[in-house]
């Protein structure tokens, strides 16, 4: 029985110039028509249903005749002019990137800046920022201690009710609190910069220097009345943002200057596990030469 071939009816059975395909037949169409009429009889007139039944019955006979004892086939001539165009080999050669090769980015970033660079960049940025803030204090309130006292308000609750005079005056406790706080935050932010910089697109220090301070300012602006009411009432947002940007640009610049180190993520698992055995590590292009 040829139709038991696993390819089904229209399988590989070309004999020379012809290919066997199932023969056209209108009986399935007539069968569908009869069946529809049969159902349409329910909503129109019983006679329609009877006609439908007769047609369905006749079509079923026709359909059976088509497949029993054997499915009818037709020999379709192979038309040479319908042959597809040959599939051309692409002349451009393709090189497949492998794990560990140059330029094979599995995850961004490939290289990161050392944390120490982040720490130093943060501290330098923090110093610039502090200088700018003091400059602002000098211009606006004729005292470089004004911003220092305001910053100390984060940890010293009494600052909230301090008068302008008190804010202008030097306060040893407030100075130490502000200094420690500023150094910690600057250092931490610098480390965050070092981690994030490689993930920015081109001109990373520039984008990071602009975007990060803006985000940070937004965060501070929304939470400041909770953490430092003294500062919240007296802050000059323009200067605040300028100081932040100075931190971002200066810190970013210093971090970006550092020599970056490769992550191991493009290594294979065996390499990262420091397994030393022949064949474990893929041979890289440059080593082959």
């Amino acid at each position: 029985m040829t139709d038991e071939l696993h390819h089904g009816e229209a399988g590989e059975r070309s004999e020379g110039a012809h290919i066997q395909l199932p023969a056209p037949t209108f009986w399935p169409m007539v069968f569908a028509f009869g069946l529809t009429l049969l159902f349409a009889g329910l909503v129109t007139h019983w006679a329609v249903g009877v006609v439908g039944f007769v047609i369905t019955f006749r079509a079923a006979l026709g359909w059976w005749h088509n497949v029993i004892p054997h499915e009818e086939h037709e020999e379709v001539p192979i038309e040479p002019e319908l042959r597809p165009a040959p599939i051309l080999v692409e002349t451009r050669s393709v090189v497949r990137l492998r794990a560990g090769e140059q330029g094979h980015r599995q995850r961004v970033p490939e290289e990161v800046h050392p944390y120490s660079a982040g720490l130093w960049g943060g501290l330098i940025g923090g110093a610039v920022m502090a200088a700018l803030a003091c400059l602002y204090g000098l211009f606006a309130q004729h005292s470089i201690w004004y911003p220092v006292n305001l910053l100390a308000g984060v940890v010293i609750p009494g600052m909230g009710s301090a008068t302008l005079e008190q804010l202008r005056a030097f306060n040893g406790l407030a100075f130490i609190a502000a200094l420690v706080g500023h150094i910690c935050i600057s250092g931490l932010m610098g480390i965050v910069y070092a981690v994030m910089l490689p993930m920015f697109p081109k001109y990373a220090p520039f984008w990071a220097g602009i975007l990060m301070p803006l985000f940070w300012s937004g965060l501070v602006a929304t939470t400041l009345n909770v953490i430092d009411p003294a500062m919240n009432g007296r802050i000059n947002w323009l200067w605040f943002v300028i100081c932040q940007l100075a931190f971002g640009l200066v810190g970013g610049y210093f971090i970006a200057r550092s020599t970056s180190i490769k992550t191991m993520q493009s290594w294979t698992l065996a390499e990262r596990a420091f397994v030393e055995a022949p064949g474990v590590r893929p041979v890289r292009e440059d080593e082959e030469k």
């Binding site: 029985m1 038991e4 696993h6 590989e12 040959p86 002349t91």
Partner: protein, 203 residues
């Protein structure tokens, strides 16, 4: 310029080893899948509406266990296996015998259903419109009975063709599919019987 061919050099060996399921098998299996879903919808409706009828008659008043009919239908599944076996080994006489037995057992089942329905309709005055029991009972059992009827029609066609001398052994594959359908109808009866006559009839 070079160009490739879709038929590789090792194509012939690959083709010779290339085995795929038979399309008729897959077709009939998925027909059975879709039919099973259809049946399960009516079974669920029966179970949801169990004991929800507002007026009688209720199942416990009117239903009797169709033990004999069920035995007949289920044993027809066995008979068709014998028939198939005989056909596979080209024993036409034995095939005709078992095939006839299958048809008779199926026909008896249908007859028993008809008798049951006549009793329910004319003696117990339970119609499809009477209550929820009538609605779900007649539709579920009726759906099954309609499948028995379709099966019987096909079985009869095969039988008549065989009697007319048609070389039925050439149609072994189709006979096989018909028997699967028949097994399916029987299996559905097991579920219908359980739902209607066991779960639906509190003792």
């Amino acid at each position: 310029m070079a160009h490739g061919h879709l038929v590789a050099e090792d194509a012939l060996t690959m083709e010779r080893q290339w085995k795929l399921p038979d399309r008729g098998t897959v077709g009939i299996v998925f027909l059975i899948v879709t039919e099973s879903v259809l049946f399960s919808m009516f079974v669920i409706a029966y179970l949801i509406y169990l004991n929800k009828s507002l007026v009688g008659p209720y199942p416990k008043d009117v239903l009797e266990l169709p033990i004999l009919a069920s035995i007949c239908l289920l044993s027809s599944s066995g008979a068709i296996v014998f028939a198939e076996h005989a056909l596979k080994h080209n024993r036409l006489g034995s095939f005709k015998l078992w095939w006839a037995v299958t048809i008779l057992l199926g026909a008896y089942f249908l007859w028993a259903t008809a008798v049951e329905w006549r009793k329910l309709i004319f003696e117990d005055h339970l119609t499809i419109a009477t209550n929820l029991f009538g609605t779900t009972f007649y539709s579920l059992v009726g759906l099954h009975a309609s499948h028995v009827i379709v099966g019987l029609i096909f079985l009869t066609i095969v039988f008549v063709l065989t009697l007319l001398g048609f070389p039925i052994q050439t149609q072994l594959r189709r006979v096989l599919f018909l028997s699967w359908y028949w097994h399916f109808v029987d299996a559905v009866w097991v579920i219908v019987f359980t739902v209607v006559y066991i779960i639906g009839l509190p003792r």
